[in-house]
């Protein structure tokens, strides 16, 4: 690791994040890599874990998957690859294999962003490297998705990881990634750095499903660099309770005609605090962005749905859409759409609406024989089950199934 990175991280060790409440990192156990045994086949994961994996879209049979990576706590226990055009492996192995890879580390996410990035960088410098490396070859197209699972199996563990995803020029790559905790884990901390490098003409879709336990704290940090004519599509689904999650991925559309779409589906339950944002910096001529989110708050949950579009050069376009339904008096949704235009001739807009379920809609469904509760849950599920755009047909269908499954609990 570069000495400069370590220096920066050292300085930021105590730096609080401007979003999300501060987490005391000392409360968690820093497990070493290698605590869990590697497995030879994804189907060898313990039975209990298997069901959890399925819930977050990770299929242990690896049917119609281009490759798989599984990390448990701090240990990469499994990786496999069925495709000839994409690579997937633990970041530690990739760093040994490719000398050039270090040049991609901490370039779109700064190590001194906050204490969480700093801690992850420092643990890395001590040899505790979690996370995966994915790379698609130039001019390749893999229609089957890669799948990655970050699993927390031990109580009070601090999971740190660093993912690097490189889509070489004119390649297409799809990733399903699930994060989950074991059934017997109640509290834990997940810190995940993810850096995307999407080169000229490439397309990456990244569909993430989270399924944490009720006392788990989550602080991912994500940066995406999008090149000329490249596309990045991010889909995020969370409908299960968590203690708190705060994430604000930033995409840098530096390439000409680059395009970014963020689609988020947030179901707040119990006492969850979900602080979820998406930020796009439109720096490339003709670049465009779309941020769409649907949020439903139940019980005592708090949802902060943030969106930020910054247009910095002429001829860029952006739209931000944020809709929320508040289902209980003890819950709340705070929609924060932000637009910053600092060039002439750009087109940016936003649309935000937070409200309750329309009485008229409930009545309509009761007049078809549904009870009020059935009607409300049908409307809520309908509200959240937005059409996820940009996926190839098979993956779109599968994602729809996963979404339907996630929405059953709502």
């Amino acid at each position: 690791m570069l000495p400069d990175t370590i220096k920066k991280a050292e300085k930021a060790k105590e730096k609080k994040s401007p979003y999300g409440y501060d987490i005391d990192l000392e409360k968690f156990i820093k497990e070493e890599a290698g605590e869990h045994e590697r497995i030879n086949k994804a189907t060898e994961v313990p039975k209990k874990m298997r069901n959890t994996l399925l819930k977050v879209g990770v299929d242990p049979t690896e049917k119609e998957r281009a490759g798989t990576f599984i990390q448990v706590d701090q240990t990469g226990i499994y990786s496999s690859q069925a495709s000839k055009t994409v690579e997937i492996m633990g970041l530690n192995l990739a760093l040994e294999k490719y000398n050039w890879l270090k040049d991609y580390m901490w370039k779109v996410v700064a190590p001194d962003t906050d204490k969480y990035t700093a801690h992850t960088a420092l643990r890395e410098s001590e040899g505790n490297i979690g996370g995966y490396f994915i790379r698609s070859k130039p001019n390749s197209r893999e229609i089957f998705p890669l799948q990655a699972c970050m699993f927390i199996g031990d109580e009070r563990v601090m999971q740190t990881l660093h993912n690097i995803i490189i889509a070489e020029e004119n390649s297409e790559l799809h990733i399903i990634t699930g994060c989950a905790t074991g059934e017997d884990v109640s509290s834990a901390l997940h810190l995940g750095i993810t850096e995307f490098y999407i080169k000229k003409g490439a397309k990456v879709t990244y569909t993430m499903i989270h399924n944490w336990a009720e006392q788990v704290e989550v602080r991912p940090r994500t940066g995406i660099l999008v090149g000329d004519n490249a596309t990045f599509i991010n889909n995020y689904i969370l409908t299960s309770p968590v203690k708190s999650i705060q994430s604000y991925p930033t995409a840098y559309c530096t390439g000409e005609n680059s395009r970014v779409v963020f689609q988020s589906i947030l179901g707040g339950r119990k006492e969850s605090i979900l602080d979820m944002g998406s930020r796009v910096i439109l720096d490339g001529k003709g670049s465009s962005a779309e941020i769409v989110s649907r949020a439903v708050s139940k019980d005592k949950s708090e949802i902060y749905s943030r969106g930020h579009l910054a247009g910095r050069v002429p001829e860029v376009k952006g739209h931000l859409e944020c809709h929320g339904l508040v289902l209980s008096d003890d819950s709340m949704i705070y929609a924060v759409p932000e637009l910053v235009g600092s060039a002439t001739d750009l087109e940016m807009s936003h649309e935000a609406a937070v409200g309750k379920i329309a009485e008229e809609e409930i009545l309509y469904l009761t007049s078809r024989g549904l009870t009020e509760e059935e009607a409300a849950s049908m409307i809520v599920r309908g509200f959240l089950s937005m059409d996820i755009k940009g996926l190839p047909p098979e993956l779109a269908e599968e994602t729809k199934r996963m979404l339907d499954m996630s929405l059953k609990g709502m």
């Binding site: 309509y364 009870t371 049908m378």
Partner: protein
């Protein structure tokens, strides 16, 4: 008697809308409800359906021999009441096909009953259309056809149609009328029909295709006149609602 309404008075948002309503509808009958805008026709529908905003101040509603005046809508519908709305709301994410399954007693996971699919085709809906969110961006005519299709899936015993023909072109009115006749078992002899209907119409054009037995004219929240649908419609056409009521009173 399928439906018996006696001495009904109804308030909406603190406003007295209906008063002194007596209405008896038996199996096999089709009644027509006429009246100027704002006279309370939709209010009477919503009251029979049991929407909470419509407060019954007086009187009772008996359906299939049971007092349903205080029953929630869901239970009334499950007892066999069905309605097609004048202006149903669009619901984002709730697919017409899923509603059809539920109305037909299926679960959303099942394939749609092929019979319903056939009926949908008769009403000029293809599979793609059924996948759409209900009433979202439907044209005026599509809304009416979708309402009738849902009733065909539901097969209620007492069916209320709130202006099924308004905003519908002539060809489509005939198409709708045909399905309304199916719903009301018009192919059977009156004595063999199990179902009954109450139909609101302004123009009466649909009555050229759906044979009605009795017409009522609602004026200012009261049933001002009851009689033969054809005669009443003719009176309204020539003398207006007030003229029609006057001649009702002289008869």
């Amino acid at each position: 008697m399928l439906l018996e309404i006696t001495d009904l008075a109804v308030e909406v948002e603190g406003k007295e809308v209906l008063e002194d309503i007596d209405l008896y509808i038996d199996k096999g009958e089709t009644h027509v409800l006429l009246g100027p805008n704002g006279s309370g026709k939709s209010t009477l529908f919503m009251t029979i359906l049991g929407f909470p905003k419509y407060k019954v101040k007086k009187g009772e509603i008996i359906f299939k021999g049971k007092d349903i005046t205080e029953l929630p809508t869901t239970e009334r519908v499950r007892m066999g009441i069905g309605v097609s709305f004048q202006n149903p709301p669009p619901i984002r994410g709730v697919k017409l096909i899923d509603l059809l399954k539920i109305e037909n007693g299926q679960t959303v996971e099942e394939e749609l009953n092929p019979e319903i699919m056939e009926t949908a085709k008769k009403l000029k809906f293809d599979e793609r259309f059924l996948e759409r969110d209900v009433n979202m961006g439907f044209s005026g005519g599509e809304v009416k056809r979708s309402e009738i299709l849902q009733l065909l899936a539901q097969k209620p015993d007492f069916i209320m149609f709130d202006e099924p023909d308004s905003g519908v072109d002539i060809e489509n009115v005939e198409l709708l009328a045909e399905e309304i006749n199916t719903l009301l078992e018009k192919d059977k002899k009156p004595g063999q029909r199990q179902r009954a209907g109450l139909l609101i119409t302004h123009l009466g054009y649909i009555l050229n295709f759906v044979r009605a037995d009795i017409a009522h004219v609602l004026l200012d929240g009261k049933i001002a006149c009851t009689g033969n649908p054809k005669e009443i419609l003719d009176d309204i056409r020539t003398e207006g609602f007030n003229g029609c009521v006057r001649c009702c009173q002289t008869q």
